[in-house]
């Protein structure tokens, strides 16, 4: 039943006898009978505009992806900023408390408190690693007690301990045991508090706080990565037909991947930049608010807890890093999604 095929329909063989033009040559198409060629619009001669992108830029999935990326970047940057703030604040607390020690002298009947204070300050100043030793005078001591005992207090009428604040070189702290022995041996009723118990607690608390913050940041970044990956894949799903068309008209996988990667890198950068900029704006607003309310009780409390409420250069660099990371993540997800789709098409080809 099977016979060699004939060369051409109807007329059995081409009548024009001309050699067919092939790939890459200028088309030599024959004139088609009865196929009306209608007027060509003038726009034809004015084609100088940029070609339409192969991947459409303004579809709903693309806009939704920008929105999702912006939100996740914003939240990631806020988390990063909060962790930076907590870390810096904890470090400041620790540093401030470790920078000082306190000499306390209890009053007794017939005890020369002023001489004892001067002697203790002099002994303390004699130790290496001590920057200064300042006696808290009567007025300052009274002010310290003012919240509990009211104003106009005469501290000589009460057995109020007196203090010497010893400022310490953090990098080269003195030998507190030797100092304690020297002070207690020379001055009666004296005790030295090097704040070690507080510092240990604060170090422990600061480390725990920063660890929790880092864990929250890691979770936030993981959530961002997963959200961006799935949102990108979702947006890509709407473009699967474009990948197939490009594949079947002979586009190489690399070309298709580059087209989609470029497009989604742009989408990722837009979303991440919006989210990062909003986060920076929030930090700047809070910083401005604390700076402009320095004298108020609320701001004082906030400043006592969080310092100046600024995330500093490392925080802003972190925001930039998050923006870059999320943009690259979007592009990489797109790249691998395209390659995966092409692999699926080729896997189908394997029957």
């Amino acid at each position: 039943m099977t016979r060699p095929p004939q060369a051409a329909p109807g007329t059995k063989a081409p009548k024009d006898g001309g050699k067919a033009s092939r790939v890459g040559e200028t088309p030599r198409l024959p004139k088609l009978p009865d196929m009306p060629v209608r007027a060509i619009p003038r726009i034809l001669n004015t084609r100088a505009r940029r070609p339409t992108p192969i991947v459409p830029s303004g579809n709903v999935a693309g806009r939704a992806l920008i929105f999702v990326i912006a939100i996740m970047t914003f939240l990631s940057c806020l988390t990063l900023g909060a962790v930076t703030l907590v870390r810096d604040t904890a470090s400041t607390w620790q540093s401030q408390i470790a920078r000082e020690a306190t000499i306390q002298i209890r009053p007794e009947d017939g005890f020369d408190m002023d001489a004892a204070l001067a002697k203790a300050a002099a002994i303390a100043e004699g130790f290496d690693g001590v920057r200064s030793a300042e006696i808290v005078d009567r007025e300052a001591t009274a002010r310290l007690l003012e919240p509990w005992l009211g104003s106009g207090l005469d501290i000589d009428e009460l057995p109020v301990p007196r203090l010497v604040v010893v400022t310490i070189n953090e990098r080269n702290p003195p030998d507190f045991n030797a100092m304690r022995q020297a002070l207690t041996g020379a001055v009666e009723h004296l005790s030295l508090d090097d704040h070690r118990a507080w510092v240990d607690r604060l170090v422990s608390m600061a480390r725990t706080t920063v660890a929790i913050g880092m864990a929250v940041l890691a979770l936030m970044l993981a959530a961002t990565v997963l959200t961006v990956v799935f949102a990108t894949r979702g947006a890509m799903a709407g473009n699967a037909h474009i990948i197939e068309v490009l594949h079947f008209v002979g586009a190489e996988g690399k070309f298709i991947a580059v087209e989609f990667r470029s497009h989604f890198l742009s989408v990722g950068m837009k979303g991440a930049a919006i989210g990062g900029a909003l986060a920076v704006l929030v930090f700047l607003l809070i910083s401005w608010w604390t700076a402009s309310n320095l004298a108020t009780p609320q701001a004082d409390q906030a400043t006592a807890l969080f310092g100046t409420f600024g995330i500093g250069i490392p925080g802003y660099l972190g925001v930039i890093a998050v923006v870059i990371l999320i943009s690259l993540l979007t592009a990489l997800t797109t790249h691998f999604t395209v390659l995966s789709h092409l692999n699926d098409l080729d896997a189908t080809s394997s029957g």
Partner: protein
């Protein structure tokens, strides 16, 4: 140019959809592929277009064994085969002109180098005044002609058309058929998959009939 020898195809562990298919598509030939719905016409076209690999038998495309063709070679060979899909597969966000120019654009060619070729081809298929409209506003016949133009723009050696007249009225179907005949006269081998008997009756051409997974050829 394409030769099938005892080709069989099954999906997974299912039954064979195509069995012992043997034929060849010579240069400048013209043939219809027909058969009842579900007979495997589209599957056979996908084998011809290297979108599927056979589970047995030998397919030779432009002198190369299909099993030896690497993934890197596939795009270059596909450019020598034009395909008109049943559902057109035009990109809706691109104009007719851009859709037709797409195969040249993906090869990295400068637009100035092919602008006139695309325009001439669109005029040839009767879409001279529809070049700068988007596919959603084209009629079924216009989409079909745009899809044909896209398949032809690289001057393929073989044109495969899957139900090219399935969405058009009889007069337009006749015009499209004349278009394919003219194309064949210019040297391109043409294979049209259809079950439109009236269309096939208009042309004295080879008929390849698929039935129950087997192929019968009537010259």
């Amino acid at each position: 140019m394409i030769r099938f020898e005892n080709v069989g195809l099954r999906y997974g562990m299912g039954p064979e959809i195509l069995r012992d298919i043997s034929f060849q598509l010579p240069e400048r030939s013209f043939q219809f592929l027909t058969g009842p719905s579900g007979a495997g016409k589209t599957t056979l076209l996908r084998l011809l277009f290297m979108s599927l690999k056979p589970t047995r038998g030998l397919i030779t495309v432009f002198g190369k064994d299909r099993t030896q063709i690497t993934r890197a070679e596939l795009p270059h060979l596909r450019r020598r085969i034009g395909v008109v899909f049943q559902d057109f597969r035009l990109l809706d966000h691109m104009t007719t002109w851009e859709n037709v120019a797409l195969p040249l654009r993906i090869r990295g060619r400068e637009e100035s180098g092919y602008r006139n070729d695309v325009t001439e081809l669109l005029k040839w298929v009767g879409l001279g005044d529809r070049m700068h409209v988007l596919p959603p506003v084209l009629s079924g016949g216009e989409k079909q002609r745009a899809a044909i133009a896209r398949a032809l723009i690289e001057q393929p050696e073989i044109l495969l058309a899957d139900e090219p007249t399935g969405n058009v009225d009889p007069p337009l179907a006749r015009r499209l058929l004349r278009l394919f005949i003219e194309l064949n006269r210019s040297g391109t081998a043409v294979l049209i998959a259809t079950h439109d008997l009236s269309l096939m009756n208009q042309v004295d051409a080879r008929r390849m009939i698929l039935s129950d997974g087997r192929l019968d050829i009537y010259d």
